[in-house]
Amino acid sequence: MSERAQLLLPIADDELVLGWRNSEWTGIAPFLEEDVAFSSIAQNEIGHARALYQLVADELGTTADELAFDRPPEEYRCSRLVELRLVPDWAQTIARHVLYEEADAKRIEELKASDDPEVAGLAAKIDREEVYHRMHAEMWRERLTDEPRFTAALEEIQPLLDERGEHTPEFAELWEEMTMVRRSVAGATW
């Protein structure tokens, strides 16, 4: 596998899977404003995943969709943190959001400095959008800073952030859902 694929696939997988998890709040968030926010963030993350997969696909001679949906579950290299199904726990959801955005910001900064101009250019574009995710996460961090359920959640799920490779038990079910339509009709172009 190419250097670019090694670098970008874990990030693309993170963004895709987190996008799916965030979209699970659509229609059922604690209030309407957050319904809109989490749905919009989910849409952005999946857009970032698509663009990152595309850069890898150009090099590997495949397509973004094939990378996103046609790999077996064991080939996904996302963090265990993004795999967790956190609905209906809002405190844990916000804790993940805060942890993820902080880690993602550092990673994007590094990509912006890449020698590969396509990677650096895409990272800079992604960052323009991520600024708003970080504002949203920061707003919630301030709001919940003394909330024991939030601080406990941060402590509990933080170790999963850097764990990759072996999936959480709930990933298998998510993979089934994510790839179901595509697997339902072999060779279909939707």
Binding site: S39, N44, E129, V131
Partner: protein, 160 residues
């Protein structure tokens, strides 16, 4: 066929989500080049997750075929699109349609404190006594604000 004719033709394509403004006014057409009957257009998406991306690309290709050219629409996913690329005429059309145009981008980029305190102007009454309701809105490119002057919620273009 000249490049000016191509730009003219592309400027007739409305944005699929906000049809008051054209793709050219939105600033997503980065470059046009003509060579031997082929027209190459460089197109920069606004937001990467924008569902209208394919629609825009296909509409541009269709428009170029109408001109009798073989289109090549390249999607450029780099950092070259910013809301600063929306033309002055485009900004005015957005405002007239009730969408507050994006604030100019500053060197350090947008900050929460600016959204919470900055003087964003209501597109309906012109008051700057407006408050942030939600960083996110009905599409990725918009935030929601509330005008205390005319007691109207309105959509504010995000600066990116």
């Amino acid at each position: 066929m000249t490049e000016a004719q191509v730009w003219e033709a592309l400027s007739e394509i409305p944005d699929p989500e906000i049809p008051v403004i054209s793709l050219v006014e939105l600033g997503v057409v980065r470059d046009v080049e003509i060579a031997e009957g082929r027209v190459r257009v460089e197109f920069t998406p606004t937001f990467l997750g924008c569902p209208a991306l394919e629609v825009m690309r296909d509409q541009m290709a269709a428009k170029l075929r109408e001109l009798g050219a073989e289109p090549e629409v390249m999607v450029i996913s780099d950092d070259s699109w910013s809301t600063d690329r929306i033309t002055p005429a485009g900004r005015e059309k957005l405002r007239a349609a009730g969408f507050a145009p994006p604030a100019p981008r500053t060197a350090e980029g947008p900050k929460l404190v600016q959204l919470q305190t900055g003087s964003f102007r209501c597109p309906y009454c012109g008051s700057t006594d407006t408050a942030l309701e939600n960083i996110f809105g009905p599409t990725p490119c918009r935030s929601l604000r509330y005008c205390r002057g005319c007691r109207q919620p309105f959509e504010q273009f995000k600066t990116i």
